[in-house]
């Protein structure tokens, strides 16, 4: 079916076959489901926001510095990921590798700071079993962190495929879809920064 289609030069590779177009739409819908998933977590977090029980409160433990570093790393990675897609549209394989690897390094840096932050909280007596508040905190931030981790491994696998097979509609659609995922995680982080960290530091 795919080989009969005629395209003008400007159509991005990933939109040139029926299958890849369907894949991209399917992934957009999956992201809709992800929004519902994170919305549920945010609703849970807000319902339990003041339920710290006998455990520490977030104001006592949150530190702005680490959170700002995490934010800076992740937001920058979204920008470099955008450049990688720009290079993909120019069909420049080397550009994709350079900018995607920078993206992944920034993502890994984000994870390092997040894990450090979690370890610190555990040392100061806040674990998932301390109180309803900390259960919600570790679950929502942890779910986002898990998404970033999966994203890193996933993108590595895609880059291997690009290296082996070159840029085809299939591989470039994978690169494009993974970038949608990465930007989505960035958007979720902005909400976490606002609803969890800034609110936790100011509203209490």
């Amino acid at each position: 079916m795919a080989h009969e289609e005629v395209h003008d030069h400007d159509t991005p590779l990933e939109y040139r076959t029926e299958t890849t177009r369907l894949n991209i739409l399917g992934f957009w819908i999956f992201l809709g489901a992800e929004i519902a998933l994170f919305s549920t977590l945010f609703a849970t977090y807000m319902a339990l926001m003041y339920r710290t029980g006998s455990g520490p409160s977030p104001t006592e433990l949150f530190e702005l510095k680490g959170v700002l570093i995490e934010t800076f790393l992740l937001l920058t990675s979204s920008f470099t990921c955008g450049i990688a897609i720009h290079e993909s549209r120019r069909q420049n394989r080397k550009g994709i590798f350079i900018w995607m690897i920078i993206t992944l390094l920034l993502g890994a840096g984000f994870l390092v700071f997040e894990i450090k932050e979690f370890i610190e909280y555990v040392h100061e007596g806040a674990t998932i079993g301390t109180s309803a508040y900390w259960s919600a905190f570790f679950t929502i931030v942890g779910t986002h962190g898990l998404h970033v981790t999966i994203g890193i491994f996933w993108i590595i696998l895609i880059l291997i495929q690009v290296a082996r097979r070159g840029l085809t509609p299939q591989t470039s659609s994978k690169v494009f879809i993974s970038s949608l995922y990465w930007h989505f995680l960035d958007v979720v982080w902005i909400f976490i920064l606002t609803a969890v960290y800034l609110t936790g530091m100011v509203l209490r």
């Binding site: 399917g26 998933l37 079993g129 309803a132």
Partner: protein, 647 residues
């Protein structure tokens, strides 16, 4: 853990079940080996990505689950038939009503409908398969393995016993120790993944793969209902995913989301559960509405009355389905204002539903009606569903609900909508589209007996429960005293239940009888009244590519148009081209097996096993990612032979 804790022991009923499971397994293994069917099973069914075969597998699994859930129901009815009965003890009764509810909703109603959607929707929109055939296989196998994980609980480890709603703190570690509740959490979690993927898959399929000329407002009503249902699935199932995950964390990792200690909030579970749970009841009723629309229109030989009103009614119902969840717990302290708001939104849903009922009636008005079995089920549905709907509006009135809540009135109400709506649709749809799956119709004479037995049994079983509810009999009690006076009506209800069971057995016999003796149909439209594209394929059982040439649609009810204008839909030799189809794959099945291993490990909190299973799942995903999955072409020779086209 000792072996006598691993296996459920001490109850003769369970030993009986052990023996029958062992015998059935041995019987199946013997059959497959003796008749050399293993290869056939693997290449034709387990590795298939064909939407029609997956649909048949969904339906077969659902019928099996209907049997299991039905046996649960009859055990309960035996225990309740007489006052102070000793047939089941309280714990066993709790386990049985929990598994009955969960299995009937999650593992019977939904897969039955998804199975029919799988078989019919791609044919109805003139597509060769769904948008993501491989993902479709993943959906089926995760559903199936989730169902199996849930079902083994009654012989290994013990069943959940906190009700299908699993309210906290009852479902927490303190009041529900042991693996039972974990089975509920993991079984539903794994099956839920499959449902979400189905939602995405069919949304893309319906939006992007319709035949040329089929605009949104030329889609058949069943396709519309599937589309709306899939939107609900995509937004509702992530809520269930999270709710189940949070309770899993509570039980396995000592978190405090819903617990009484650690400042947890037990009502948060009730809210999250019903935020998914209420949309869920529309997930199981909207496809039913769609099927009845098709069947009533076809056998009345008239275009559906009020097509656009039907569509908008479903869209409005879908939107409101997310705004009514609090009506499930009016009595749990939400306050007068909140209760009033949700009372009103609930009653508003009655309006679009009423519109649909009237449109079905007007479709039949002045139609030339044939009283075939699918039509009988549809007519039975209208009457029973109105009873269920009207009692639903009674329950929607928050102040009055304080009287009805937690009584058999509620039980009767939701069985009138779920059986009278969904189960009747499953029977009607299965019979109507049966020739599309197996090439022959079901015997009409036996089918009518099944309908009347079931319809009478159903009303005898559930109508008395309205009265028992008015008389104050609470739900979820394992016995009652003779002084309560509830004995006679309960006996009547039990008799009705067994009549339904008899109808089910007769239906199974009907499947066998028709398989042996029914006339094999050849033409695409054995009923002779089909209106939509699934009846336009050249043979009764569509070939694996569905349509040799995709038909062009010019309006509603294309097959009716072809018939009236005597248009020959047989493909012409000149129009044939090689057809691209996806490869079969065994990976989805293997992935589901790893999901089972992971789920089973987590149920017993054997974390090494959970980790092994999850690693296996990721490996299968990586294998898929690296697979080029280029598919294959169906050659002209094969198409010519299948379509019986001579040069």
């Amino acid at each position: 853990m000792k072996w006598d804790e691993f296996f459920v022991t001490g109850d003769p009923l369970i030993y009986g079940a052990d023996v029958s499971i062992a015998l059935t397994t041995v019987g199946i293994l013997f059959y497959l080996t003796y008749f050399k069917k293993w290869k056939w099973l693997w290449t034709e069914w387990i590795t298939t990505v064909d939407h029609k075969k997956l649909g048949i597998m969904y339906i077969a699994a659902a019928v099996l689950m209907m049997f299991r859930g039905g046996v649960d129901a009859l055990l309960m009815r035996v225990q309740l038939a007489t006052p102070d009965a000793k047939f089941l003890d309280s714990q066993h009764y709790n386990e049985i009503f929990t598994t009955h509810g969960t299995i009937m909703i999650i593992f019977m109603a939904m897969p039955f409908l998804i199975g029919l959607i799988n078989v019919v929707i791609p044919l109805q929109i003139g597509a060769r398969d769904v948008a993501f055939p491989y993902l479709n296989a993943v959906s089926f196998w995760t559903f199936f393995i989730g169902a199996m994980l849930f079902n083994i609980s009654f012989v290994i480890g013990g069943s959940p016993s906190a009700g299908w709603t699993s309210y906290m703190p009852l479902a927490g570690n303190e009041l529900s120790p042991g693996p039972g509740q974990n089975y509920y959490l993991l079984g539903l979690q794994i099956a839920g993944i499959g449902t979400l993927l189905t939602g995405i898959n069919f949304l893309v399929t319906i939006l992007k793969m319709r035949a040329p000329g089929m605009t949104l407002f030329r889609m058949p009503m069943f396709t519309w209902s599937a589309l709306v249902t899939m939107v609900i699935i995509v937004f509702a199932f992530p809520i269930l995913t999270i709710a189940l995950a949070l309770m899993t964390f509570d039980r396995l990792f000592g978190a405090h989301f819903f617990t009484l200690q650690g400042a947890g909030m037990d009502m948060l579970w009730a809210n999250l559960f019903w935020l998914w749970g209420h949309p869920e009841v529309y997930i199981v009723i909207l496809p039913a509405f769609g099927m009845f629309s098709e069947i009533i229109s076809a056998f009345s030989r008239k275009t559906l009355f009020g097509y656009k009103a039907m569509v908008w009614a479903m869209v409005i119902i879908a939107a409101y389905s997310f705004m009514v969840w609090v009506h499930h717990f009016f009595t749990m302290g939400s306050g007068a204002l909140v209760n009033s708001v949700f009372s009103i939104t609930t009653m508003i849903i009655g309006i679009p539903t009423g519109i649909k009922i009237f449109n079905w009636l007007f479709t039949m008005y002045k139609g030339r009606i044939s009283f075939t079995t699918p039509m009988l089920w549809s007519l039975g549905f209208i009457i029973n569903f109105v009873i269920g709907g009207v009692t639903g509006v009674m329950l929607a009135m928050a102040a009055a609900d304080y009287q009805y809540h937690n009584t058999y009135f509620l039980i009767a109400h939701f069985h009138y909508v779920l059986i009278g709506g969904t189960v009747y649709a499953c029977f009607a749809g299965l019979i109507y589209w049966y020739p599309k799956m197996f090439g022959h119709r079901l015997n009409e004479r036996i089918g009518k007996w099944v309908f009347w037995l079931f319809n009478i049994g159903f009303n005898v079983c559930f109508f008395p429960q309205f009265l028992l509810g008015f008389d104050g009999m609470p739900r979820r009690v394992y016995t009652y005293s003779a002084a309560s006076g509830w004995g006679p009506l309960n006996m009547v209800s039990t008799i009705g239940g067994f009549v339904m069971g008899l109808a089910f057995l007769l239906f199974v016999y009907c499947l066998y009888y028709s398989f042996r003796y029914a006339k094999r149909e050849v033409a695409g439209d054995p009923w002779g009244v089909g209106r939509t594209l699934e009846w336009a394929t050249t043979s009764t059982v569509p070939p694996h590519y569905n349509f040799a040439v995709i038909p062009t649609v010019t309006g509603l009810d294309p097959v009716e148009t072809f018939r009236n204008q005597k248009i020959d839909t047989k493909p012409k030799l000149a129009d044939l081209k090689p057809i691209h189809m996806p490869d079969y794959s065994g990976v989805p099945f293997v992935m589901a097996v790893f999901f089972f291993i992971a789920g089973f490990g987590l149920v017993f909190e054997w974390y090494w096993m959970g980790i092994v299973g999850l690693i296996g799942v990721f490996i299968t995903m990586i294998i898929r990612s690296f697979d080029r999955n280029e598919g294959f072409y169906v050659g002209l020779e094969e198409i010519k032979e299948t379509e019986r086209i001579n040069e």
